[in-house]
Point group: D2
Chain length 319, copies 4
């Protein structure tokens, strides 16, 4: 048994691109219950009420929807150079930056799928002011507005070659492969990665649209209970937010999910993990076959076709 | 900033002593919804439905209630000798054992408070048979019996000298001190330790009964929702299980709690953590003052006096 | 405005027919968490933990699935003769019986759809013994077993002529028509009747299978929260109980639902009404059009085809 | 057995007096999630999102807190004169009024405890405009703001002579006495009245402060789940709203409760009834003795002293 490398602490933030910045901002503030921490250039920075950093979401105006980049926070400062050096040798490294609003020195690179990725340690922790929580162990006050999402949970990307993405992720970033879908003849259709006790922080699933790369499937914010996922569905219904599917329970990872489209066109998930964690340091990867996937979601819901095909940007966006 | 040592994966199991073994076993199976995996000598081994190891609870017949030992699983096999060597130098080491039912080679030592403690890596993962779950990422079938606890969550010990316990724990076992109570003039009244993304895995609070050491305060199993903690309270009420306090929310750690006494006299907590996790690798310890503690629990409930004084064994047990 | 007639107190019980009596009984006891109160001839009588009468379900062995009869409890004893006389004049009356286990004098008749129906007032209230609840305002102890259904909620029948059923129900039994589906040109596709503050106690929907009459669509037991409906789905999944659809929220009546097939083939719903009640004494019937129904359930789930076609008995049962 | 009189449909509205009208309005809109439907003179009219009438709460500026009046909606228009005539004969009648904003002709009288009370049938049903719900069976849109209370649930008054209040209520208004507290030697300490399928719509408990009459104990709005009562407690905590007690479960009526003080000083309850209803038309009153009450609330919480003594106005308000 090879030891798992635990250098990454957690998914830090995601930059989403949106062709409707104002409406997207209103979705994340009024409907999701998130707060704006900064605005700079064409970007707005937001966080959920218990996200401890400056932001977990950067919304950037763009001609089409999609992902700008995603970033991982390292477990300690001294890991930055060490990991950067290893990644540089793969030929996928880009180089250091001085960081962005809310975090310091950063190393940038591309995943084999083309997704722009960052690692960093130095960060600006959020200091609540008038939004200070009555409980000093909460990053800011419970908003009592909209869906009241608590924290960034995970990111799901699309990749033409899931196996290549997976190998790079495990080799250079570390963590465990908690679950995977492998069809006949070793075709890897999906991979779920966990860098801490959560059962996943990143998922990558196959991009079925020929010629597309670097696409975004969804990102997820966690609420405190499944009941709040149900309430989120009512809030979406009452506010003309498109519900793609759910609430229901995934067989993979057992996530209780709800998928919405934000006004810019990106898919956003509201989820609750119940009390599930992976504490086992040598957890054996759960492998799902084609036959098992055909059973649909945990309670029998058939997966909606768009879930398999829609990513952002969409092919028509690039014409 | 000093780097945190992440050598411990999680709390492995707890051995509880009970003067009423049969009744205690029925409590943990019928009321808590746990399952027996083995019986040997005067001990019964049990687990919750999603505990991945052979057992998380060992119930041992004894003349009085209390704790036999608790054990930590390490992140990798090579850490056992390394940590054992360091601990041996403190004079608190006991030595290696061949393990017990369900786990392999183990190093035993005493905490400064006298609590017998173990570290191990080799373990026997539970292989469900007729209790196999329909979801292959669950250790065994949801029991649909009693409180349906999912997994071991944490342990709370009593120590005459909390500061000494804390220093040993952080130095030799690692993890973060996520929260602590410090009264005036630096008197440490409680300490909460986290070895993974959970906000705590072990708590130690001051033993206020003169002359007692090595006592047990409570251990906790997690359920999937706060609603299930409420249902647990109804189940306790309907089955003559003593409810000491709760359901309510702790200010410290925000745990939604219910405290019961099992028939042997030990305090058992049913809890749900909502979506709270600590992902920040350099989390700053939350410090609670005397004034803050006087406010009671999160929503204003005053802490019941027995919570501050009762531990097992009780002084009268030792006469 | 015509005054509503409030002579009926509530739906009393349903007799289900099953070709697999033993397995059906185990489903209702082990999975649903109900209790047996009596057995007589080919029938087993059951109740949920807070049903106040002797039984709300009578399971009777039969060559095929379906419904034997359903019964309404009147608001007072003196209403029995008065209503029987009125019904007798319609030509659909059958006559008085001495009752059955658990209830007294009864008047039997057939609905225009052929469903055997009863009205009664004299009843035997359940006297809990060893299953006595710790709370004297609960009919019996919370079972802590399986789905823990609390009380009978409603019944859904299939009728070839929904309008005829509706007119008879409102004229001779009373209550309000809380919701209805009317397609173009006045085609009544479904009707929901409420005889108390619940938003419905009986639903009748169109039977689309030519030549069938007197069929059963489903009956429903209520649990205390939507969370428990989700837990029910897990229990069904873990115990090989077929989930037809759900959990999800109906647009009609807003019911949070889960539909299962019991081993005999009858459809059983687990539901939670949230805090919804109809208190308005002159509530205006909600009318749903074809276009509105095409939107699917509340959060967009498309209704599964079997929900529109499957009733018991099924045509092949009658060959 | 005497037949129960079911002439009252439900509790219609409550007029609360507040010395801090602006702050009270903000509490009910921002924290409770209610909406303003009208303002007239010194009064503001509000409703919860699924209240079907013009208002269920009238807030009126006054030198001290307390209750202005409460009103019952009748089951049909023809009952108004009939009941008024009967009440007039008791000497407690006041006379007819033309009604108020939101309802028509009304008969006013005083309860033996001095509480000003109204009965009416003609009402103005709320017509949602921009707050129209996506579900046509909901009175208006789910607010997604604060506690999101759904509907008025019940009212609790204080009376020096509970037995006199009870006898008047049952004789002239009708409904059932669902639960009552009777101490030794027939001292009636509390009475709970139900006029529909809810287990209570009005409670009256003994006023222990000598010389006080016509006082208010609390009024209650229902939310859809117990989880939302827990969320309400967090919202109160985060917004400096005083939590008197709870969340916990009452033994009487099983209500899952949270008691807050609105800025004017009146006690407000947030509650969820789970799936409990009283459907039995000849329900036998549950009688609680002194010994049973000493056990505290359902799960053992001792009732806070202020719950037994504090009503509005408070004696010092009247100096």
């Amino acid at each position: 048994m090879k030891n798992v490398m635990w250098d990454i602490a957690h998914l830090g933030h995601v930059e989403l691109l949106t062709p409707k910045l104002d409406k997207s901002v209103r979705f994340f503030t009024d409907i999701m219950g998130m707060s704006i921490t900064a605005a700079q250039g064409d970007s707005i920075y937001l966080r959920a009420y218990d996200d401890y950093e400056h932001h977990t979401l950067k919304l950037t105006a763009h001609k089409h929807a999609g992902i700008g980049h995603h970033a991982w926070r390292l477990r300690s400062a001294d890991l930055l150079e060490q990991k950067a050096a290893a990644i540089a040798q793969t030929g996928l490294g880009i180089g250091y930056t001085e960081g962005d609003l809310g975090h310091g020195k950063t190393y940038q690179f591309r995943m084999p799928s083309g997704h722009l990725t960052e690692i960093y340690f130095e960060t600006e922790k959020y200091k609540a002011q008038e939004d200070k929580s009555a409980l000093k162990n909460t990053a800011s006050k419970f908003p009592a507005r909209g869906i009241n999402v608590r924290r960034l949970d995970h990111l799901n990307l699309l990749a033409p070659d899931v196996a290549a993405f997976r190998d790079f992720q495990l080799t250079y970033l570390g963590g465990r492969l908690s679950e995977t879908i492998i069809f006949d003849e070793n075709e890897v259709k999906g991979a779920w990665f966990s860098v801490n006790s959560k059962s996943y922080d990143l998922a990558v699933t196959g991009d079925h649209v020929a010629g597309m790369s670097g696409r975004f499937h969804h990102m997820t914010y966690a609420v405190n209970s499944r009941e709040e996922v149900l309430i989120a569905a009512d809030i979406a219904l009452e506010n003309d937010v498109f519900i793609e599917t759910g609430p229901h329970k995934h067989a993979i990872q057992q996530t209780f999910f709800l998928y919405l489209y934000e006004p810019g066109g990106n898919r956003i998930e509201i989820a609750n993990p119940t009390a599930r964690l992976i504490l086992d340091p040598d957890y054996e990867t759960i492998v799902w076959s084609r036959e098992e996937r055909l059973k649909g979601q945990a309670w029998g819901l058939q997966t909606v076709p768009s879930f398999h095909t829609r990513g952002t940007p969409m092919p028509e966006d690039l014409v």
